[in-house]
Each structure stands twice: as structure tokens, then as C-alpha cells.
């Protein structure tokens, strides 16, 4: 069967970016081209997802070079889930940014870089070659550097220094790990690596390499000792850019971690303990950090860190049911975090601030909007039957079964703090009477045209509906997670598909 179309979503984003180059400075044309490109890529990603779910593994050997020698692109269940999530979020944020971003940022090539970023993400999710993964990582981080600094405000620059340094350091660690891995195995294809690593005798060297990979991906996904760059940079760019970063960039690190630690390295007891210990610390620091924050955006940044801990814990438990939880949580988290960060953008448009002390009375003025926002916020908390609830059951169950009681307590504590923080945000931003009388000049949202309002609210509604579907249609999501977890726990399936 034809597997060339694995590359189609990547190519669509690349072509859109190139076409956008010819419309440099023409804002209206750029908006339309970007939306068309996003919709096209969205349709192709849905098709890729459907075909992968029915045919299990799609493998494309680039240039016709057989597996261990050429670059392989693989779409398995995990990749296709990530690709679909990327497509959903990029469509929503793409539409949202047509109104949320100011004209000067669009003139300086926002959409152009945006499409390159999404292209890099899709490439990273689909590649089956470890060095190719590194290259896609670099495509993503250099695009994210430009997006983070676009506009050149002082605050953005300061956030960018930390972000750029930590990401460049993470890439170097990742590259070092690849170098050692190539030295001990002589191959770069992930399936071939899996075979060769398992027959290695020098387990010590393998463990060191595994931990190097963990450090590299850990910096990218903001785990405990290496998370501080995230809260000090994610609140600086405009909300549309923060939505892409918060939803997808940290999850790229998690994706790579899942891939590497299920396929290539089978974690031993020590590595599992490291994972679980770091997960506990990540949850605690993220949760404690979010309690005293007044800026809504900073609060969400710390919640991102906190919830990365759940995913790391799931990978550390390393059982099939834990992975069901990880995949389910990943699906839920990508959607809801992007949505929340877009919501902060709308709040800022309405009240000119995202400081909770100066906010208030949003429910009085915009009851319908508040309802849509509430869906996203309470999905994050996981009030049953909303989407955050289901994966947590898996985590609780597995932590209990493997007798990791500290982990169990931490997960419950982190969930409780999330509930507390979101409830406080709800009462401060929406219920509390507004601290100062509103004038028409402040509310820039009410002055927008109907079309602009639609462009701001439709993506948020869309993601809220997706969140609702994840919550109420949990069975279908659970089936997908189960299939993915089964493939992850049986790496032989992946190896056979690639090296057949």
C-alpha cells in the first residue's frame, strides 16, 4: 500500500510556509493562506490517524534505502495520536492568532515561522531515526526562539535568554547521547537500535546513555531540577504563541521520552526509581509554585510543570495500564493547556490585565463566554466526568498496585492543589466583583467586529468541545490509549514492522 502520504502533513506545512514568504507584509493574504494550510493539514492528519489506526504500522523508507541504512518514517499508534493532536491545536491556534496577534508581529513573519514550527513537530512525531529526531528538534527550537522573541519587548528578551540557553544545552546533551549510542551500536535507526541495545553486554554504558537521553528530554519537557526556564519564559510571549508552546513543545519532550524508554531502553529498577522520584518532585514543585501566583499566565506555567509530573510518573511505572493513563492524559493535557492559554489572551483583551488581583466580574459581563472557559478550567481539574478525571484513575490504580504509596499521595496532593488553584482563579477572575469600574476603553474585546470575535472565540469553543468529547466519549479515547499502550509495551511489533 502507498505510505508516501505519511509525509503529506509535513509537506503541507512546509509549502504553506514557503508560499507565505511570497506574501511578506501582506497581512490579510497571510491570514487566509495560513488558515487554508492549517485546514488542509488537519484533514490529512485525520486521514493519517484513521489509516494508522486500521493498519497498525505505516512505514516509509525515504529514498528507497532499506531500513537500518536510510531514514525511516514510521506512523504507529503513538505517532498518529500526537500528529492528530498537533493538527487540532495548530488549527485552533492558527485561527485564533489571526485576531489575537497585533499586525506588526504578523508583518514580521509570525505565520511563516508558525508553520515551520508545526512542520518540525510533525516531523519529530513521525520519524523513526534518532538523529533525524534531533534535526526535527532543532527545527522546532529555532522556530520557537523566533516566536518567543518576535516583537522584541524587554520582558520577552529576558525570558528568551533562559529559554534559548536551556534549549541549546538540552540539544547538546541529546547530541552527546546520540554520539555515544552510535559509538556503541553503529546504527541510528530506532528499531535497529532496539535490537542491538538488547543484545549488549556492557549494561553500565547503556544505562549512562539512557540517563543522558533522560536529561536531554527532561530539560525540554521541564522536569524537576531543570524546569525553571519554563515559568520564567512562557508568560512573556503573546497568548497565541504561549498556547502552542504550553500545549505542544513540552509534550514533544515527553513523546521522545516515551519513544526512547519503551523502544530502545527497557528501564531497569534503578531508572524506574529515578523516573518516579523525579516525577514526585516535579509534581510537588509545580503544585507549590502555582499556589502563590497572581498572574494567570504564570499560574498556568507552573501547572504545566506540575502535570508533566503525572506523565513522567506513568512512564516510570512502566506497566501497560500506566501507559494507558499516560496516553490518555497526554491527549487531555495538550488540548486543555492550549485552550487555557488562549483563554488568558481573551481575558487580557477584555480587562487589559491578567493579574488576578485586578481582575473580576467577568461572569457578570460575559456569562456565556465564562461558561465556555469554565469547561476548559474544570476539565483540567478533572471533575468527573470531564476529561482530566479518567487518566488519573489509571495512575492511582497502578501506583497502588505497585505499592508506590509516596507517588500515590503526591498525585492526590497535586490534583488537590490543581483544584484549589483553579477554583481560586475562577472565583477571583469570574465571580469576584470587579475592583475598579469598567470603562469602554478598557474592554477591547467589545469593540471588535463580529468576525474578529468569532476568530477569537471559535477556537476556544472548538477545543472546549474536544475536551468535552474526551470526557464524555472516554470509551473511544480509552480504546485508542489501550491500543497505543499495547504497542508501546510490545516493541517487537514496531521492530518487525520497520525491519521486515
Amino acid at each position: 500500500m502507498m505510505t508516501n502520504f505519511i509525509l503529506a502533513p509535513i509537506l503541507v506545512h512546509m509549502l504553506t510556509a514557503i508560499i507565505l514568504l511570497f506574501f511578506w507584509g501582506k497581512v490579510q493574504a497571510q491570514k487566509i493562506i495560513s488558515i487554508v494550510g492549517n485546514i488542509l493539514a488537519f484533514i490529512l492528519c485525520i486521514r493519517l490517524f484513521n489509516v494508522t489506526q486500521t493498519h497498525d504500522f505505516l512505514v516509509l523508507q525515504l529514498g528507497g534505502w532499506k531500513a537500518p541504512f536510510g531514514i525511516t518514517f514510521v506512523s504507529d499508534s503513538l505517532s498518529s495520536v500526537m500528529v492528530l493532536l498537533t493538527a487540532i491545536v495548530s488549527l485552533a491556534v492558527g485561527v485564533y492568532s489571526t485576531t489575537a496577534l497585533n499586525v506588526s508581529r504578523i508583518k514580521f513573519g509570525y505565520f511563516f515561522i508558525f508553520h515551520f514550527l508545526i512542520m518540525g513537530l510533525l516531523g519529530a512525531f513521525l520519524t523513526g531515526d534518532i538523529f533525524n529526531l534531533y534535526v526535527w528538534f532543532e527545527v522546532v527550537i529555532i522556530s520557537s526562539f523566533v516566536l518567543l522573541t518576535l516583537g522584541g519587548k524587554k520582558m520577552q528578551m529576558e525570558g528568551a535568554i533562559k529559554y534559548v540557553t536551556m534549549n541549546m544545552l538540552a540539544s547538546t546533551v541529546f547530541l552527546t547521547a546520540i554520539g555515544i549510542l552510535y559509538g556503541i551500536t553503529g546504527t541510528l535507526n530506532m528499531a535497529d537500535l532496539a535490537l542491538k541495545i538488547n543484545s549488549m553486554e556492557n549494561k553500565g554504558l547503556v544505562s549512562v546513555t539512557a540517563l543522558l537521553f533522560f536529561a536531554g528530554f527532561g530539560i525540554k519537557s521541564a522536569v524537576f531540577p531543570l524546569y525553571f526556564w519554563l515559568p520564567s519564559s512562557y508568560h512573556t510571549p503573546p497568548s497565541a504563541i504561549a498556547a502552542i508552546f504550553g500545549g505542544l513543545l513540552t509534550k514533544m519532550g515527553i513523546y521522545s521520552m516515551i519513544r526512547v524508554f519503551t523502544l530502545i531502553f527497557q528501564p531497569d529498577d534503578f531508572i524506574q526509581k529515578v523516573f518516579i522520584g523525579i516525577a514526585i518532585m516535579t509534581m510537588i514543585t509545580g503544585a507549590l509554585g502555582s499556589i502563590n501566583k497572581r498572574s494567570v499566565r504564570r499560574l498556568i506555567s507552573y501547572l504545566i510543570v506540575c502535570h508533566i509530573g503525572y506523565l513522567i510518573a506513568g512512564i516510570g511505572l512502566h506497566t501497560e495500564i500506566a501507559f494507558v493513563g499516560v496516553i490518555f492524559y497526554l491527549i487531555h493535557d495538550v488540548i486543555v493547556k492550549s485552550n487555557l492559554l488562549m483563554i488568558t489572551g481573551v481575558i487580557q483583551k477584555i480587562r487589559e490585565t491578567i493579574d488576578m488581583q485586578r481582575l473580576g466580574g467577568l461572569y457578570m459581563d460575559y456569562p456565556k463566554l465564562s461558561l465556555i472557559f469554565a469547561i476548559a478550567m474544570f476539565s483540567l481539574v478533572g471533575i468527573p466526568p470531564l476529561s482530566g478525571f479518567w487518566p488519573k484513575i489509571q495512575f492511582f490504580g497502578e501506583a497502588l498496585k505497585t505499592e508506590n504509596y509516596v507517588l500515590l499521595v503526591t498525585i492526590i496532593l497535586a490534583s488537590f492543589v490543581t483544584l484549589f488553584v483553579i477554583a481560586r482563579m475562577w472565583s477571583e477572575v469570574f465571580w469576584k466583583p470587579s475592583p475598579k469600574p469598567l470603562t469602554d476603553e478598557i474592554d477591547r474585546f467589545a469593540q471588535l467586529s463580529i468576525l474578529s470575535k468569532f476568530a477569537l472565540i471559535a477556537p476556544i469553543t472548538f477545543l472546549s468541545l474536544v475536551s468535552l468529547y474526551i470526557g464524555f466519549g472516554a470509551e473511544s479515547i480509552y480504546e485508542i490509549s489501550q491500543k497505543t499502550a499495547h504497542e508501546l509495551m510490545n516493541p517487537q511489533l514496531y521492530i518487525n514492522a520497520v525491519l521486515k
Binding site: F131, V135, E138, I141, I142, F145, V146, T149, G152, K154, M155, M157, E158, A160, I161, K162, V164, T165, M168, L169, S171, T172, L175, T176, I178, G179, I180, Y182, G183, I184, G186, L188, S232, N292, K293, R294, S295, R298
Partner: protein, 117 residues
């Protein structure tokens, strides 16, 4: 030869990490560059150092009959150099811009806004 390269890699990594931990932004950048170069040398070393045996098959042979230099690490290094070139170019511009807006080369002066919660 191997020992020399190993020592060189060690020096590159340690000097890089030392410079990253300094407060000056320029030293931070230099540190990242040294680390990147160390990683490149590491790949070069891990691929195996072979002298004077190019990976080219003679016309009348079907297979390699001799140990040959592995071309893959060099391709990897080339890719990594190109990428780090772009990243460095970006980082230099960023540092220059930060210097222009804050008027300081000291990383500690950037933390003021972190205090406000």
C-alpha cells in the same frame, strides 16, 4: 591519537560548563559553543578513528574487504555544525538585543521581573 581526542573532549566539556555557569552573557554563549564542539568531537571519536581508508569500493569489487573509515559520523557532525551555526547566529543577535535593551552584560540583572509574582 584517541587519547588526545578524549582529553580534548574533556577540556571542551569542562570549559563549556564552567563558562555557562559564569554571569556574563558573552561567556554563556562561548560556553554553549565549546559544549557543541565537544559533542561534535565526541561523535567523531565514537565513530572510530581510521586513517587513510576511504569508504570507496574499487570498481571490480562487490564488498568492502578492509576496515574503512565510517562516513556516517562525519555526516552527522556536518549536520550538527550547520545547525549550531544557525543557533549561534540567532543567539548572538539575541544577546546584542538584550544588551541594547537592558544595558548590561550581567545575567543576574535579568531576574528582576521574576520577583514579582
Amino acid at each position: 591519537m584517541e587519547l588526545l581526542i578524549v582529553l580534548l573532549i574533556g577540556i571542551f566539556y569542562s570549559a563549556g560548563i564552567f563558562l555557562i555557569l559564569r554571569r556574563s552573557m558573552v561567556k554563556l554563549l562561548l560556553g554553549l559553543l565549546l559544549l557543541g564542539n565537544g559533542a561534535n568531537l565526541l561523535i567523531f571519536l565514537m565513530g572510530g578513528l581510521t586513517k587513510g581508508k576511504p569508504p570507496i569500493i574499487k570498481e571490480d569489487y562487490k564488498h568492502f574487504i578492509d576496515a574503512y573509515a565510517d562516513p556516517v559520523p562525519q555526516a552527522l557532525i556536518l549536520t550538527a555544525i550547520v545547525i549550531s551555526f544557525a543557533l549561534t547566529a540567532f543567539a548572538i543577535i539575541l544577546l546584542k538585543k538584550v544588551y541594547q535593551t537592558t544595558g548590561s552584560d550581567d545575567l543576574d540583572t535579568l531576574n528582576i521581573q521574576d520577583l514579582d509574582i
